[in-house]
Symmetry: C2
Subunit: 415 residues, 2 copies
């Protein structure tokens, strides 16, 4: 715990340095680290191999091992990611809404870094490089708490990052890795309010819940996506099928994939058999209500819990609704507030859906798969916020900053 | 606890209604309540008298009783406050940064209400009306948890609010008061993540700390202000004296009043005796370092804890520093990140202070007392945020909203 306080102090100190560094200085560090990763890929892979062996010894699943694994190609992709971040505009320093008040005070909002960002993540070593790049470009110091299974890989990566910082005259403590991978140190990090300005958990639903429940530091919640496609009675059938298939099957393991399909009963007899056929070709398991089961004999019965579930798999819950408001109420009750899409050619119904569905991203006639920092034009993302405070939807560099008011006076006092 | 879940559900339901109501409807409710308060002032005062008697029986301090007390004048001021809110522009519905992506998707950010706001406050009944007005105008449902000492006053006020809601066809549960004033119900409210989108504590440092430590709901921290005035060696002495006196004495009991004065040693011999004289005339107690004590014989010795203290009283800690960076480091170490002001005629030093001091409001040549929603032109404020997420500095109607992405497509799928 005392050690962690030192970590916090060091990060805070580094954050003061970072807050006034111009973009060119930060870009130099990013470039040095991108090159350092390429040059040292052999030794990174060596350390990663040791992590992989331990993971296999401990009987971790193949999917787990795949997420943990680094090779030349993946390291190249991390370097390329840093070079992409170099190209993004530095959000820090912009002054917004500067105005002159009646008493002559000039008041504006200046965009500044958040300060110290804590990242708690699982065993994907690429997160180490991703979050370093984004946090640094936005002028923040970072404290990293990665999963124990990736500790040797993370140490190797952070070593290269710190060399790059030092080489460019930056404090090495701009990036610190907590090497104590115990749960106790995670809990202690979550109470480090004096030094850490925000915590961002990156990982599965369990990790995120644990951080939300235990942190006294402000948290940005990311991730869980129980996304819906609603096919309204005025839907264009072709668009509806294309969007349903894309939202479900284009990449089923990610948060913006659709998990539930809602269909207006007026169009159900026509749409569901056609969509069902396409879904079956893509090997999607259907869990439907009684109506759906009647139309699709291979559909199995959906249980109440299905409507809540983020499958992250080739499974789709399907329900027939009697009205638009039934669809909207279903989304409100069971959804996670991530992304929802209506397919309709009706102007008023589309606008009503956009008004009444309050998720981070609400679509008309498009796949939910577009909820993504790159697709939204942010250039990169550190996660997709499903909370309402500070950031909502894909979070880019701007979301890693805050503002402060700057006020130019000439002797004003309050009367 | 079960009762509280019902409260949460009712608020969520009301928030769906509120999210699509145009400004004119919300203004009608505000006007009805403003009139209702005036018409029913007698009965409100009667209930408030019962609260006051209980408070006196329980031996609560004169200052406490004063904060609790309502009279005709104070009720009129609550009504007038609601009428001011009617004049403010409704922030909901504005669409920001709408742009067309290369694939033809139109993507924009639409300003929407936060949803359900929980307010935990102490025994100032005017908070009940203030927060109702601001939250309603921004389209939010509210759950109020006021101090036990004000429960009868709050019941009377919420009764009038709910009559006004009903009369205008709004759900009464737009505003709910938790009548169980136990600590247990406060703790339960702080875990109501499923229904409450944000908690705002309004009150002293102890209340705020308790909410930050116990809430699993996102919190907006408001309030604590250990504000600094720094008189640089290039200060205009007259401005420096006027700003020091104003920041300390114009209203010492509020968060934007100055608590510590830092003085550059080059100007100390000239400035401190002059300022000291004026401060003594205003009956300000000085707690100074050795240098200050030498110049002001009546100054008492400052202890380490003085530099951390928000006195909210006619007491000022005074320290002489050897350089601008010593002043900035002092503010970083001891400050609460609220408001700080430098007095200087030097261009580069002023800019450096604006860059390096990272508080919610950083001033050049003006009193810290201006950190306030009205003074900043927001029209009204629900508090002054000293945290970095979501809102920083004075929070007006905009800070009671969030955004959602709205996306207009014509069949786009991701490839």
């Amino acid at each position: 715990m005392n050690e962690l306080i030192e970590t916090g102090k060091n990060a805070k100190q580094a954050s003061y340095f970072l807050s006034t560094i111009p973009e060119s200085g930060k870009n130099k560090v990013l470039l040095t680290v991108a090159r350092g990763l390429r040059t040292n890929s052999e030794s990174i892979i060596q350390q990663n191999n040791a992590d992989l062996e331990n993971a296999k010894k401990n009987g971790l699943s193949g999917a787990f091992v795949d997420r943990l694994m680094l090779n030349k190609e993946r390291i190249e992709s991390m370097s390329a990611g840093l070079e992409e971040i170099i190209k993004l505009e530095d959000p820090v320093g912009e002054v917004l809404e500067m105005k002159k008040r009646p008493n002559g005070l000039m008041i504006g909002k200046k965009r500044v870094p958040l300060g110290v960002i804590g990242i708690i993540y699982e065993s994907r070593p690429n997160v180490t490089i991703d979050v370093f790049g984004l946090c640094l470009k936005a002028g923040n110091a970072v404290i990293l708490k990665g999963g124990s299974e990736a500790i040797l890989s993370n140490k190797a990566l952070v070593h290269i990052i710190r060399l790059g910082l030092k080489e460019n005259g930056f404090p090495e403590d701009t990036v610190q890795l907590i090497e104590d991978t115990s749960r106790e140190s995670t809990k202690a990090l979550m109470k480090l309010n004096e030094y850490v300005d925000v915590l961002i958990p990156r990982g599965g639903a369990g990790l995120i819940r644990s951080v939300v429940e235990n942190s006294t530091i402000p948290v940005i919640e990311t991730g869980v996506g129980n996304c819906h496609v609603y096919v309204d009675r005025y839907a264009d059938i072709e668009k509806a099928i294309a969007i349903t298939i894309n939202a479900k099957t284009q990449r089923p393991g990610v948060c913006n994939a659709a998990e539930t399909l809602l269909v207006h009963e007026t169009i159900a007899n026509e749409f569901i058999p056609l969509a069902g056929e396409q879904l079956r070709l893509k090997r999607v398991e259907i869990r439907g209500d009684a109506y759906v089961q009647k139309l699709l004999p291979y559909a199995i019965a959906a249980k109440e819990e299905d409507w809540y579930t983020e499958y992250l798999d080739l499974i789709l819950a399907v329900k027939v609704v009697g009205s638009d408001s039934e669809a909207i109420e279903h989304i409100r009750k069971y959804g996670s507030g991530h992304s929802e899409s209506i397919v309709t050619e009706n102007y008023s119904i589309a606008n009503n859906f956009l008004d009444e569905v309050n998720s981070a991203a609400v679509y008309v006639n498009a796949s939910t798969r577009f909820t993504d920092g790159y697709e939204f034009g942010l250039g990169a993302e550190i996660g997709i916020s499903t909370q309402k405070l500070h950031a909502r939807g894909p979070m880019g560099l701007k979301e890693l900053t805050t503002i402060k008011y700057i006020i130019y006076g000439n002797g004003q006092i309050r009367t």
